[in-house]
């Protein structure tokens, strides 16, 4: 990237190459297939060990100390305590529906949804705590004294408020939750501080919020024009339209689809890039201020690149997506200020025993 051209060296640097990572990615894929997926936990730990070890902060690399076994145990626990009960409730739900008690079923689904919402909040908190506790720099790790229950509640009611206000309070909810999450995290003897605000990103959010409406009416207008043109071309209702017209309409349909989601995607990227700049920029650790420099087009390039990678390799390229995401994250992450090495001492937080099982169970992304 542009690291070397800058006069000042960046605090975070990523030194990996995809050629270096390829043997790891492919052996992970092989072992995951022959173990019916069980190896994926060890594979993920291996990927992280590589990515962390190629990430340099100031003068030394990071180290990932998590193991595949931890992730595996975390998954098994989440399966036993959450996936299995949810599956059984689902079975009961089917029975309730088949008996014709739609009202009771709807109530049950509603309650399940609320419980899941709370658990997703807990899961996100615990995943971040786990990751910090397994990240070593200068022999020091991160962590949190909290278990994530309070955060789970906060996530629960803030998400509900955001939903009930027709998502208008989404930026508020996102910013507050970011602060709440990071304000309970620490690295060594230092505490993270975050005071991200929702106001700076609200404009971009409104763009994202209103764009579908504008797009919808624009497309409606274009369809009307298209139908008008079709009538002129002499398509009679009832009679089979000529093949040329069908092809034209199909192409138009595909074009609309691409434009709709393409434009929406770019606007979503515009919002997320603004949010991440605001959120990471408002986060600090001791005398260290963080920053995130990815602009909208950087995000778009990341996503388009990931999609192209997966599509043109018939899915195999998926194994490189974690690499691309991490490289993107580190290459745009900045830090200013200094770390007082001699006063930074080991974290006294309790290190969690197992990995991100709950997050896996709900299949939610990390960042």
């Amino acid at each position: 990237m542009t690291d070397e051209t800058r006069a000042e060296p960046r605090a975070f640097r990523f030194r990996g190459t995809w050629q270096d990572y390829a043997p790891i990615a492919f052996t992970n894929l092989l072992l995951t297939i022959v173990t019916l997926g069980i190896y994926s936990f060890w594979g993920r730990a291996r990927t992280r060990r590589y990515l962390w070890s190629r990430t340099i902060f100031i003068d030394d690399r990071l180290e990932w100390t998590g193991t595949g076994l931890e992730l595996f145990v975390g998954y098994i626990l989440a399966f036993l305590f959450f996936v299995l009960p949810f599956g059984i409730i689902n079975l009961v739900l089917q029975g309730v529906l088949m008996r014709g008690h739609q009202g009771a079923a709807a109530l049950l689904v509603g309650v399940l949804y609320l419980i899941a919402l709370f658990l997703i909040g807990v899961a996100r908190f615990r995943a971040l705590r786990y990751r910090l506790s397994r990240t070593l720099w200068h022999g020091i790790r991160g962590g949190s004294d909290r278990q994530g229950v309070a955060y789970g509640w906060s996530w629960f009611w803030r998400s509900l408020v955001a939903t009930l206000t027709a998502y208008l309070m989404m930026p508020w909810s996102m910013a507050r939750l970011w602060n709440e999450r990071w304000n309970t995290m620490s690295f060594g003897s230092l505490h993270f501080r975050s005071d991200a605000r929702w106001q700076p990103v609200f404009g971009r959010f409104m763009l994202f919020y209103l764009a579908p409406v504008v797009l919808f009416f624009a497309i409606l207008a274009m369809i009307a024009i298209g139908i008008g043109a079709g009538m002129m071309a002499g398509i009679k209702p009832g009679a089979p339209p000529p093949a040329g017209a069908i092809v034209t309409f199909a192409l138009l349909g595909i074009a609309f689809y691409l434009v709709f989601f393409g434009v929406l995607g770019v606007i979503a990227a515009a919002f997320f890039s603004a949010f991440f700049r605001e959120a990471v920029g408002a986060t600090s650790l001791g005398d260290l201020e963080f920053g995130f420099e990815a602009r909208t087009m950087d995000w778009v390039k990341l996503f388009v690149g990931n999609y192209a990678l997966v599509i043109f390799t018939f899915g195999v390229g998926y194994i490189f997506v974690p690499y691309r995401n991490w490289a993107f994250f580190i290459r745009h992450l900045a830090a200013y200020g200094s770390v007082a090495i001699d006063t930074l001492t080991q974290s006294q937080t309790r290190a969690p025993g197992q990995g991100e099982g709950l997050l896996d169970a709900f299949d939610v992304g990390a960042f």
Partner: protein, 366 residues
């Protein structure tokens, strides 16, 4: 990076056969440069000419092979590290534990041997998971299956169509096809889909749409006989068990890969079950002296898709793939003659009117 400047020391040329390392004690973030010396079974780190505590080599925990540089931790001392700035001197390397790469078993066996061994075990597990449901399903007592059916589907179907004459005709039809089944439960529900299903617990539900689409009682008889085949073969129980086994087995697969694999395997087995149910149905029809030809014609009609009814027909096709082979199989089973209609014309009319007076309104119940 800022590696130690005296590169010569790191190559192992020093007479003490030591090496220069970076060291963290896991307590503070201070980065120390030290000289590593081997003394018997222990290591000694010398900082600025001052020797630290002896560290037993046996307690060293090797770092990861993918990390790019040799690194060691210490048992019971989280965060304690020695990182070799350059290559590890050969004399020292022989005494230090080897690096971890893939994880315990794979490192011990080697990648290819481990992959082969895992693949063999995986193949056996998949075969067991696919094969045992057929055996286990037959071992599950009928009462347990009925109980499970009650939990899953409740009285769905039992609240079906109630026209007395129609129900009598339906009972006659069921008895005609399968006279040895006193406990066989067949119901009709007023839904427009052209379909029939066997529910967990061995209850057969025929949708009214199928009865209206049929042109003779023999066509309905063929479809019901096919479902009786599913009941006898315990196919629903088997399918449930297999589905459960596969979802547990493939649960660890990332994203949708597991789901797709699951669907493909389950579909392959359901095709097999369909073919077997057809075989059973053909035998039942032969014993009952009901002609299989109308059923074959019915499949032909479904395959072509009736005008305007395509979307209703799709329901049956989705669960019972109709192919030319199926119709041919029924057709080939036909004998020269001696067949009698499954129901008398008056009974057939009664069956067609079984849902008379019923509504297909769905009401909200608690």
């Amino acid at each position: 990076m800022s590696a130690p400047s005296e590169g010569g020391a790191a190559t192992g040329a020093a007479p003490d056969d030591g090496a220069t390392v970076w060291h963290y004690d896991g307590v503070s973030a201070l980065r120390r440069r030290a000289r590593l010396l081997v003394e018997g079974d222990a290591l000694v780190l010398v900082e600025d000419g001052v020797a630290g505590a002896r560290v037993p080599i046996a307690d060293l925990v090797p770092g990861h092979a993918d990390a790019g540089a040799a690194s060691f931790g210490l048992k019971g001392r989280p965060g304690w590290r020695i990182d070799f700035a350059g290559p590890v001197p050969p004399a020292l390397r022989a005494r230090l534990p080897g690096a971890v790469r893939y994880g315990g078993w794979v490192d011990r066996l080697g990648l290819w041997r481990a992959a082969t061994a895992f693949a063999a075990v995986a193949a056996v597990v998949v075969v067991i998971v696919l094969r045992t449901p057929a055996m286990v399903a037959r071992l599950v007592p009928a009462s347990v299956e009925r109980q499970l059916g009650e939990t899953m589907v409740g009285d769905f179907g039992r609240r079906g169509c109630t026209d007395a004459a129609g129900r009598a005709a339906l009972a006659t039809l069921a008895h005609r096809i399968d006279p040895d089944a006193p406990r066989l439960e067949v119901d009709v529900v007023k839904l427009p889909m052209v379909n029939a299903v066997t529910l967990p617990g061995g209850r057969i539900v025929v949708f009214d749409g199928l009865i209206q689409a049929a042109r003779s009682p023999d066509e309905v008889a063929g479809v019901v006989a096919h479902e009786i085949g599913h009941v006898r073969h315990r196919d629903v129980m088997e399918g449930l068990l297999r589905q459960f086994g596969l979802s547990v087995l493939l649960g660890g697969m990332e994203g949708h890969v597991g789901g797709y694999t699951n669907t493909i395997l389950a579909t392959a087995y359901s095709h097999d079950a369909e073919a077997k149910a057809d075989g059973y149905a053909i035998q039942l029809l032969r014993d009952a002296k009901v002609s299989p030809l109308p059923t074959a014609t019915f499949f032909d009609r479904l395959g072509r898709g009736g005008p305007g009814k395509a979307e209703r027909m799709l329901a049956y096709l989705a669960t019972h793939p109709v192919s030319a082979d199926r119709a041919r199989r029924f057709r080939q089973s036909a004998l020269a003659g001696g067949y009698a209609p499954a129901l008398a014309p008056a009974q057939w009319q009664a069956l067609r009117g079984i849902c008379r007076g019923d509504t297909d309104r769905i009401d909200w119940r608690f």
